[in-house]
């Protein structure tokens, strides 16, 4: 039978002693956690193991002996080691031996009470880096065992059991060689327990800081939730402006970061860390933008350029309408309808230009204050930009709505009169098309109206097409800005940084390497952590974004455009209407 023994690389140079670890019977695998050195008193070793078992719910026991012969092998040591098997009974009993001047090891496992003759098993030795295995997390995470008394963490299979054993046995690694305890252990921390002053200070300071900031944030959210904002104009604005959405999102993040509850599992801790990194990056980029905007009076230049740009856009729209009122692309329009629609839209543009000119003295001040909002984060500044674009192109939105309503009215009329033309009608009760006998007068007027609507269709359709294309252009520009905001919101920077600098922390699995092999020696393998690829890191740890994704597929979008229904391509998370 083949037995696998996991041995920590840090104990390869330790002095002779006892092997302490956990035996997993289902996989015939022994995980060695530490080496207990001579001299020791067996009672104290047993007490230590009992305590560790209670603290960590891991079934640690003495697995065997470890013999590191620096000088000539001693006869008495050999017999002493064999006597220990009687003091610490364990099935099977491992005997690892490393000879002086040889890099090959010998390893035996004996069964005392096996049925039949007591025999020896073949052992495969696997070296593992204890620190890396302790700190790493397997993805996908194995189902974590419940922390109950007597619950066996061996329900996780395979290598996950090894990872769990090492991770749970922190109690065994707490003492180092400078402690004055009764038992001297060798493990990854035996040269000195690892700690960081900054981490300890941060832990102590985080308590009161979190409390203070959490109370501040609850104050801000209480102000935001007060009744004034639930009244109609403000609540409508609040749901439509993407800036409010982004601010709400960030407030949610900050509340989660500074909540006084501790993170329950590693996934929540990573989430918090990613949020902190995202907020910090956001604020840093925002401050960069702020310094760029406010230096060398760029805001003044921007404000000076804004009004002529709006004027230019309005002039181009006027040219477009003049073109439509003539013979656009060689098509012949219905003169009267063309003139009516064209003059109607031209008057709107005239109103819009007057409005812009009225606002022009205040633009610089508004822009200056808006620029200050960049210190809340680049995402807030970008959302504001998107809202400003929406406000400045409000006339295009109005034209689109007029054109779409007119077109839709026409299409409805046409379809209903087409049914009349064929002698059918729509049965609203049964929701189907039924045949119907009409009077001659009804048929006559219906056919007349049908003809009128049909011949006026190209004009309306052309206006609808032009304004829909303009609207889609504006929506595409807004969509790009939203995409950038979503990217900054949801990118897990902390996880990516961890994957770059400490790849063993995020493990997709393990990999083995066969070490120098000699015949008649046990097979020695080195187990290393196989890090998670970057795409899976982003996929696993991405933060939930604003929820602004297109709600329609391309097919349904085209269908809605064709029938003239209004489209709202970006669905906000809080939008309840259909």
């Amino acid at each position: 039978m083949v037995l696998t023994a996991f041995f920590p690389t840090c104990c390869a140079s330790a002095d002779s002693g006892l092997l302490v670890g956990r035996w997993v019977p289902e996989q015939s695998c022994a995980v060695v956690l530490a080496v207990v050195h001579f001299p020791f008193i067996p009672i104290q070793v047993k007490q230590l193991l009992d305590q560790v078992r209670q603290d960590s719910q891991v079934g640690v026991a003495v697995l065997g002996t470890w013999c590191h012969c620096r000088q000539e092998p001693e006869e008495s040591l050999g017999r002493f080691l064999e006597g220990l098997a009687a003091v610490f009974p364990h099935e099977p009993w491992l005997r690892l031996c490393r000879e002086r001047g040889s890099m090959f090891w010998s390893c035996e496992a004996t069964h005392r009470q096996a049925p039949g003759a007591p025999g020896e098993d073949q052992v495969t030795l696997i070296f593992y880096d204890q620190r890396q295995v302790l700190l790493s997390q397997l993805h996908p995470p194995a189902v974590p065992p419940d922390r109950q008394v007597g619950a066996d963490p061996a329900s996780t299979g395979g290598l996950a059991a090894v990872f769990h054993t090492v991770a749970r046995s922190e109690a065994l690694f707490r003492s180092d060689r400078f402690d004055e305890g009764p038992v001297r252990l060798s493990h990854w921390q035996s040269e000195g327990v690892e700690a960081s002053i900054l981490a300890e200070l941060a832990k102590r300071a985080s308590g009161p800081v979190c409390l203070l900031l959490a109370s501040l944030l609850s104050l801000v959210s209480a102000v935001g939730a007060c009744r004034v904002f639930k009244l109609w104009p403000l609540s409508f604005l609040g749901s439509k402006l993407s800036t409010c959405e982004q601010l709400r999102h960030r407030l949610e993040h900050l509340r989660l970061i500074f909540s006084t509850k501790k993170a329950e599992n590693p996934a929540q801790l990573m989430r918090k860390a990613n949020m902190v990194a995202s907020v910090l990056l956001d604020v840093a980029l925002g401050l960069l933008l702020l310094s760029w905007l406010h230096g060398r009076s760029r805001i003044g230049h921007l404000a000076d350029a804004l009004v002529p740009v709006a004027d230019h856009v309005a002039e181009e729209l006027q040219h477009l309408l003049q073109w439509l009122m003539g013979a656009p692309a060689g098509l012949k329009m219905n003169r009267a309808l063309d003139q009516v629609l064209g003059r109607f839209f031209l008057y709107h543009i005239h109103l819009w230009i007057s409005y812009i000119h009225l606002m022009s003295p205040f633009v610089e001040h508004i822009l200056w204050h808006v620029g200050l909002s960049a210190c809340l984060g680049l995402t807030v500044a970008l959302s504001l930009l998107s809202d400003i674009v929406a406000l400045l192109t409000f006339h295009i939105y109005c034209f689109y709505v007029y054109g779409a309503r007119l077109y839709r009215l026409k299409i409805h009329g046409l379809s209903s009169l087409w049914r009349l033309f064929r002698g059918k009608k729509w049965n609203a009760l049964r929701r189907r098309v039924d045949s119907c006998s009409y009077d001659l007068d009804q048929l006559f007027i219906g056919t007349l109206l049908f003809t009128i609507l049909l011949f006026l269709l190209p004009t309306t359709a052309l206006y609808y097409l032009v304004f829909t294309l303009l609207r889609l252009l504006v929506v595409a520009a807004q969509g790009l800005i939203h995409l950038l905001v979503d990217l900054i919101n949801s990118l897990p920077l902390y996880s990516l940084g961890l994957r770059l600098c400490r790849p063993y922390r995020l493990a997709a699995g393990v990999k083995f390497r066969v070490l120098e092999h000699e015949a008649r020696r046990p097979l020695c393998l080195l187990m290393q952590i196989n890090p998670l690829p970057y795409s899976r890191v982003v996929h696993t740890y991405r933060l939930p974004g604003c929820g602004c994704h297109p709600q329609h597929s391309w097919g349904s979008l085209c269908r809605r455009l064709f029938s003239g229904e209004l489209i709202y391509p970006w669905r906000q998370r809080s939008d309840k209407q259909d």
Binding site: V2, T4, T124, F512, A519, L525, N530
Partner: protein, 200 residues
């Protein structure tokens, strides 16, 4: 066949044989028997040939020179050089696989490693508890029917079902004779493993 004989009893066997892949290129299969329960198979693909590299570079540069003579913009030439260099680096790091290795260890599992021409190695390890069987399967690949070796994984829900099929030596694509050699060795180890798992 080469046998190493250090001071000791059984030799560590290493063996190298030459096979061909589905399009006729030459493959070298190296087998190492570390112990009765651990074997490694290493398949080396043909290297990047200087001829194809020169051909691609000449085509790209001729096209760039043609564009340059049309547009008189010297940025096109520098862009072509840049693109060629980046393309070559990307090809060596992400596409060109030099060697594929299959390591099978009786009680632990099966490990597949692909080493790229730039030195990058990508490893996958499948635990023995998840492996149902190793089989040779047929597949339709473009206009050919080829044989490939694959690992069948157990379904956790259904005891006789298969949850996934993992193909081995995907980029080397050896022919049936090479696959039969690897298959026989792997089946010996799997039989051993099944025997030990049924007798506790």
């Amino acid at each position: 066949m080469r046998c190493g004989r250090p001071s000791g009893g059984k030799p560590v066997m290493e063996d190298e044989q030459s096979f061909s892949d589905i399009s006729g290129g030459r493959l070298a299969l190296q087998r190492r028997y570390y112990s009765p329960s651990c074997r490694e198979f290493c398949l080396s693909c043909p290297r990047l040939s200087l001829r194809s590299l020169t051909a691609v570079t000449c085509t790209v540069w001729l096209a760039a020179y043609g564009l340059f003579s049309l547009c008189e913009n010297s940025m096109i030439l520098s862009a072509a050089i840049f693109i060629t260099l980046l393309g070559l680096l990307g090809y060596l790091h992400f596409v060109k696989i030099d060697q594929e290795t299959l390591l099978i260890i009786d009680s632990l599992g099966i490990q597949m490693t692909s080493s790229y021409a730039s030195g990058k190695e990508s490893t996958t390890f499948i635990e023995m508890g998840k492996v149902k069987d190793i089989v040779i399967n047929e597949a339709i690949y473009m206009q050919k029917v080829i044989y490939y070796l694959c690992i069948l994984l157990k379904d956790p829900v259904e005891p006789h079902g298969i949850s996934q099929v993992v193909p081995v030596f995907q980029s080397a694509k050896p022919r049936l004779d090479c696959l039969i050699e690897v298959y026989r060795s792997c089946q010996e180890i799997l039989a051993q493993q099944k025997a030990t798992s049924t007798n506790p």
